[in-house]
Amino acid sequence: MAKIRTGDITTHVQQLAAGAVGGAVPEGEPPVVVLVHGLLTDSLASHYFTLGPALSAAGMDTVMYDLRGHGRTDRPATGYRLENFVEDLALLLDGLGEHRPVHLAGNSFGGTVAAGFAAWHPGRTATVTMIEGEPPVAAWAGRIGDGLAHARRELVHEEAIDWIRERHGAHTARLSRAAGRILATTTLAEDVPAGRLIADDLSALRRPLFALFGGDSGLAAQAPELEARLTECRTAVLPGQGHSVLVEQPARIRDLVLDWVREHHARRSRTPAGAVG
């Protein structure tokens, strides 16, 4: 288990080099993809058993890590603003000696972290993929603040966990209890909506962005606005899917992300050498 010092905390990271799990290793420098998981019930495991092996087999260096407060990364009592999460990622890449611009792919809040990183570290970002995620604008902060405040009120009660167990089973109940523990022992619920934002016009997002949504999720309605505001933007809506589309449809998400990264990596690789030949 690899742990790397990132500022005042230690971050758990798992790397799968291009070809580490089989598959062909391409010529030249492979692209590097960083996978960012979501809030509370999530960890790098969501990617480790879905996208991670596929990206590596497709010839991409793959980095997965646990966000602060989650998985096996430290859980400080405070410091959960978006800029803290973004800074952790910058320090993690420093610690790994990663100097290539990275292709970021984030699920849910991980997509928000990825978009924040792209806005504030454009030179280190190749592309951004948001899976059921939103850029860090004021409306997002309002929604996630309400959701986290509600979760914190409810998930600390054992009766609520029992109710979840009856309706959704023991697995979801256990995840909910773990989420309740994060909310009860940290300032995450106040910090996340109080962090740094970008302007509503999304002018801060200057890297190519790919937004994937489940058709039944409330977020899919944002697709047209993203396309209208960003110069390099692609969206895909998977019909019949909800917010957990990554877990429900890993193969389809994998194929879409692979195509996106391949296409942009080929374009970047051509650009500097193009003048010669």
């Binding site: 960890s43 969501s46 480790y48 058993f49 092996p53 096996r72 023991a170």
Partner: protein, 108 residues
């Protein structure tokens, strides 16, 4: 790679040896609290050991340290459906590891 060439069984590919090794690894898994757990072939990772998916990541890394790249838990689990992961037993994992070791032994 064919399966008929598994006439020789290297010592580390013996099913019971692998099972015993995995039980030891599970008992020593950091933060999982399984030091005194009863673990056998039929033990369920999810419902009985109450392992979180992040514990499976740690387990995967430990198995790779022991057996090398021949054993890849990430690929094994990536091929399973969510309900299959939830119903996964220690014995199933041991069988997968044993089969992976035998397959690579047969290749060589």
């Amino acid at each position: 790679m064919t399966t008929e060439a598994t006439t020789t069984t290297p010592r580390d590919a013996d099913g019971n040896t692998v099972l015993a090794r995995i039980v030891t690894v599970l008992r020593e898994l950091p933060d999982a609290g399984l030091e005194d757990a009863e673990i056998g072939r039929d033990t369920l990772f999810h419902d009985e050991l109450e392992l979180e998916s992040i514990d499976l990541v740690t387990l995967s890394g430990t198995l790779r340290e022991i057996y090398g790249d021949r054993v890849n838990l990430a690929l094994f689990i990536a091929d399973l459906e969510l309900d299959e992961i939830i119903a996964l037993t220690v014995g199933q994992l041991a069988d997968h590891v044993t089969a992976s070791l035998r397959a690579t032994a047969a290749e060589g």
